[in-house]
Amino acid sequence: MPAKTPEQINEDLLRPLGGASARYLTALAFFAGIVIAAFCAFGWQVYAGIGVAGIRRPVFWGFYITNFVFWIGLSHAGTLISAILRLANATWRRPVTRCAEVITVFALSIGATFPVIHLGKPWLAFWLFPYPSERGLWPNIRSPLLWDFFAINTYLLGSVTFLLLPMIPDMALIRDRATGLRKKIYSVAALGWRGTPKQWHRLESAMQIMAIAVIPVAVSVHSIVSWDFAMAPVPMWHSTIFAPYFVAGAIFSGIAALIIAMALLRKFLHLEEYLLRVHFENLGKLLLVMSLLWFYFVFAERLTAWYGNEPSEMTVFWVTQTGSYSPLFWLMVFCNFVVPFPILAIKKLRTITGTVIASIGVVIGMWLERFLIIVPSLSHKYLPYSWGTYRPTWVELTITAGTFAAMAMLYMLFAKTVPIISIWELKAKEHPTSDHAPALAQTAEEGAD
């Protein structure tokens, strides 16, 4: 097949923006239903009291904070990966960046709701914000929760900008083809884009700056999330390894989420000719590296704890290694390492299906990792008299399901309104085509160099 012409690219990538199929609407309604159920569950929690959730003494944080860390971690899919690839000039990245960046924005938004959802008095969540008030009282800057507030907001602002900047030319493209109300809306989104050289130049430099700026922000976000735990004298939390461990885990789960999202887009939006095996293969290799890194971190963390033999840490250690949480622990190792490692390491298995299977494993495994960091430590903190177990209730389960549904729903809506692959970047010629596939691997390697 010959290389796509710009018209074909326009045609292929703008097609999904058209009318909604029955299948699309059904799926959307399904996800929306779950999201509404989650809102109802939260409403009930606000009305009846946070007690309807399963948290208890001493496990004061459960599914909500697990989800918080999980989604914030997942958000490292996009902006961070895309920024790194941009800076490294990995040209194969072009069809991948936008669908990655949008994961960041949505995952971050979803994750950021959990610190509110988990509050005993969510209606006072704004007390976490530093604003001049009649209370004359600033929030406590020594609290890692405040650091979260700043870090997450900065990252959200950065990643939204990072998503929106490269969307401008595409918005202009749609504007130029649209009529009526749609034209008006896209005109606003296009921000007066005319495609003058000056505009192109500014866009390129802005993106370069953002790509550089967003990396430390992303790293800081999950470091700070890790410090929500590491700053407290809780066995197995109070660890110097936590920040890099969390950041690595975040990127790990982010790549996995990206692979899954790409596979779904490829299938449902018929982007087989844009999202190619090579993309999955390259991301699969990255995932493999992260899986090894993850394993290394877990090993290092566990080894030092075990070697240190500090009684309270060993309690948590054994309760996860061989005790009541061990099934979850070993399932996590299975999902994060045993499944992805062979699939991704063996070239033959590193197919689209293969990488997707590995990624599903990693997403599950990384959710479990968050849970296993939070709950066993709290449930077995120091004095054995007050140890306790934790089980979520339907409220937490519904809200958790709701966040996954919300992700799907937002993604579907986004893909209906914005080309999920950056059209103008694809047109910049270097994008790989299916019949150039062999040469592509080379390009990718160049990019990786």
């Binding site: 009291g49 208890r56 001493p58 004061f60 020594r142 405040l146 008299y385 007050s386």
Partner: protein, 235 residues
Amino acid sequence: MAHQWGMVIDLDRCTGCEACVVACHAENNISTVGEDQAARGRAKHWIRVERYYEGEFPDVKTKFMPVLCQQCDAAPCEPVCPTFASYHTIEGLNGQVYNRCIGTRYCANACPYNVRFFNFYNPVWDKPLNLQLNPDVSVREVGVMEKCTFCVQRIKASEIQASSEKRDVKDGEIQPACVQSCPTKAMVFGDLSDPQSEVSRLARSNRATKLLGELGTLPKVTYLQRDSWHAGEDS
């Protein structure tokens, strides 16, 4: 210098009777939560008596240890609180401002002693049990963390009384409800900044230890270890 309130608990006297536990409920308007919530770990006992067994019958050793907020000088529950609801008072207490707490429960995770209790629901007193409530102590609503205050209302009352009489608070004048009730006088409360006070004297005992002292929380509760017959140490 401001008073530094502290407590000594003599484990050689404590019999695990739990009078302190109920006294604290009565003094501090701690609501009962009922069986279902108790089963779900929501019971609130600002002071509890931990019981540990060692060995097998008949050579089984039993240990009782009353645990309440240790009023740490380096309290891990304080810096983590985003709203300053958990804060340090100049008299060395770990204060808890119920009105400011928004229920992150971070402080409770950070407290190594698990002595912070959360209101998972609004408290209920079946009428007329509400008439038992102590008007000197506010009741806490849903979503708010609570914990032992060293009976700060009693401390304040004595301080106000003393200052109105233009004198300092006398040693032993202030008795938190648990201390007042304790039948074996296992608990002693007083001012640690006064080296002559009973509590300071006892805290210097060679049986004195701090609970989880290795964590560097600088607790202001001192435990005196169980003694044995014919052991030399006294008091």
